[in-house]
Symmetry: C2
Subunit: 554 residues, 2 copies
Amino acid sequence: MATGKLQAIPLGGLGEFGMNCMAMRWGEDIIVIDAGLMFPEAELLGVDIVVPDISYLLENRHRVRGIVLTHGHEDHIGALPWMLSELKVPVWGTEFTLAYVEDKLDEHGLLDNADLRELRSNVSIKIGAFTIHPIQVTHSLVDCVALAIHTPLGVVIHTGDFKVDPTPTDNKLFDLHTFAEYGTGGVLALFQDSTNVERKGYTPSERAVRRKFDEVFAHTRRRLFISCFSSSIHRIKLAVELAHEHGRKVAFIGRSMTNSAEIAEDLGYIEVPEGLLINPGEMKNFAPEKLCILIGGTQGEPMSALSRAAVDNHKHAKIEKGDTVVLSSRIIPGNEKTIYRMIDHLFRREAHVIYEDGSSPPVHVSGHASQEELKLIINLVKPRYFIPIHGEYRQLKLHAEMAGAMHGSVGKVMLIESGDILEFDDLGGRKIGRVNVGRVCIDSGNRTDVVEDLIIKDRRHLSEDGIVLPIIAINKLSGEVETSPEIVTRGFNVGEDGFMDGARQIVMDTLSQSSEEEKADYGVIKEKIRSDLKRYISKQSQKRPLIMPVILEI
Amino acid sequence: MATGKLQAIPLGGLGEFGMNCMAMRWGEDIIVIDAGLMFPEAELLGVDIVVPDISYLLENRHRVRGIVLTHGHEDHIGALPWMLSELKVPVWGTEFTLAYVEDKLDEHGLLDNADLRELRSNVSIKIGAFTIHPIQVTHSLVDCVALAIHTPLGVVIHTGDFKVDPTPTDNKLFDLHTFAEYGTGGVLALFQDSTNVERKGYTPSERAVRRKFDEVFAHTRRRLFISCFSSSIHRIKLAVELAHEHGRKVAFIGRSMTNSAEIAEDLGYIEVPEGLLINPGEMKNFAPEKLCILIGGTQGEPMSALSRAAVDNHKHAKIEKGDTVVLSSRIIPGNEKTIYRMIDHLFRREAHVIYEDGSSPPVHVSGHASQEELKLIINLVKPRYFIPIHGEYRQLKLHAEMAGAMHGSVGKVMLIESGDILEFDDLGGRKIGRVNVGRVCIDSGNRTDVVEDLIIKDRRHLSEDGIVLPIIAINKLSGEVETSPEIVTRGFNVGEDGFMDGARQIVMDTLSQSSEEEKADYGVIKEKIRSDLKRYISKQSQKRPLIMPVILEI
């Protein structure tokens, strides 16, 4: 057996939702598995995204050999632009994952300098002391892999995100056989996704939503809007197929949705028959019963296409009486109020809204393994050490307890959190200390800014740039703005004389260009004010202060 | 048939969650059914509660004959202090409902001048032109009634909140017979609770949680903490009974929980055997396996007993390794993140946490009727007009669609919202216009202030008193406060010289008296700062500005 030490150091995602990132080190070689973001909590108003603090990697920058991605979801790749701007290393991912990464890096002007390398399932690569064998798994996204990492001390398996879907829509099966073979050969450690550990039984196959979609297509008499996560390629594929069968044209609305569908079509995950696709601008030329619109914004994000359509403020997406809107996604915890508010607006448009209400057949299924699937993988792999990953503390703990009771399959369970250093040597594994971890808040600016967008800022910079609080008094009854908006600033140099008047005018303009429904929806109106004011301030002063609109209801 | 017009005017609760209040008018007589509050949304930071705008009632104050309450939940009685301070009218409610009302009015120093009159099921009362017949219904609270309102035009039934529980823990059955008799005699209009219209089937009986509680009591080896809504009398009764059976002493922790249990005991809803109850201070004298603690704070409210216990900051409620914590309540939409954060803290204390996870037997059941129960009542009542009440717009709409398809039982469905005037005469019913409605935001101050608490303010007053924004920079890694807090004010006269320094000192003191876990939980720390600063400012200046702490993570 080799003498030396293997360290696994989660930099995010263990004890928190999102921001998945783990370093693995043998001697002078460090590899990083995933580089995810976290969407900010309501308390962090004025921040766009949150990424892991990578000071450990920066302190060891000469040792970092590369980043390996398990799949293309934001909580696994979303921190890449930020990490690559600090760390010039190669990035490995499957074809589909890299397509998302390219799109994202391009948007930030980072693509030209990036070193992207393709990963194929069952084709091993060598990075420093590590040999990495990607294993095909199923998930809500396509082209996802688990990683069997061969180290001098033995094999470590990192599942990435997965469910065990026996009937994936692309017929690319979960590679149970390879997991079984590793189990036979002996596995040092299994790092497994904890997201759905609270759910009993099995997660239904992606194919389970087909029955509901069939029903909806059969019964819809007017326009059919379908909203799902832009990365739900299985769902988009299904909608496109059914639209074709039912003689409906397909339009994509929303930037992420359009990009994602293009990537999926380019790579052959979706086949779009000639003449099926139309531009949003062409929708008016077709009868309502001839249209299927795939639209982004399933979480009720204030500026998304569906949110704007719900308050009748989208140029192309007009939702009218008798139209059907399908929300084929889960409600991410924290978004409930916003989503139900959007659904209420859709009901007011007299649309027929179909959303997850626990009924069967389901309009959405989860992409993560439930308890029985988690146990299946543990049974197959029979690891000496089991480490729950990807979950809030209670999920890690429940996962640890579950595995801890599986005496025939699991040697020892290690419950670690982001920042813990888990070290293995030929005597075994143990927690030996901690590295600095944390959340870095990023204000990514207007997404169309391209290169300037790279000016990524954490809160240290934001507090240098100061705070701007526009305070608006809205009369709840009339929806009117009562007085001229007040603008409070702190630590922010207001610059020229006319600056404050200009800022006030911007806020007034934003308000006057908003519909009554938007003004009644504080989430929407705050986001509009924030984004318009950000553009103005950035142009006037090249500064990016934290902007937090305050609405007073009077 | 009488000539004249009957008007039903919902002032809150139709098209929004909470704030239930409806006016009913015949000529010169107006009665008001329920006077509920709404808990504010996250966007309305700095506001404690939200109540309906009652300008319609104030404009017609000489016609208002009284307020009739269906039951004692906050979304039906919580606006009473505010309404009674503006409107001196008698209030009718059942014995248990009035006990809650008394407690609430006493707290605001309004009890002495209140005219409270007891309502008994099956004993009709006359208020102006109306004769009101209270009908016993089942719900998550005890002593709840529906109202059959006899008017010159016919009988109108208002269900209040209900489910049809065939086996209520107090054996007081839902009075199906009286509903049936009204159906036989003919009913003009049925106003029915829409809360659970999205749920198929039947809501399980309150008794369904007994199996889970039995299991928990049988398996718990150390302290047992049970948290539920303080008004969940059925749940408290069950816990007290089982504690007695299993030889555990019972302590109540949390103000609402203690009050509510006292009321329930006084009125005979709970029997507490001699010697079973102990004070929180006595807990330390008993072995962990001899304790059952009923504790408030099931929604993770930052200052609640359970939230504080979860971060190890409660004087009496110490949660230790191996203790069990049961959350026997639903997650109110919008509270998910806060509640899961609290659960995570409890897991970190190595407590065994039992919460609603969809498993059976359930640890919580809903108090509202699901679809089959709603249909049952419609079948029994066979109203000429059906009007869905108590729900967000989508729920009212779905309820309207459901009833609209019941041709054998329903004449016509009217979908109205808060502010609509629904008028009936001998030709039928129709919407004839609107009155002013809206939300009034109240900062109710420190709840122990008693009389001064009556200084209830809406946002008009708040904006007169100005805004105070304490800005605190917390280092995420170390939990340290980086610089002296900044305090920004607007429209608020800072008064004496030392005022700002004093305010800064208050914030520093609050921070230094908080644990690391509290400082990491922005919800908690903001609420602590807000409440301490409010007390300081109120003492210094007699003003009550809006206080919105801003936390910068650096």
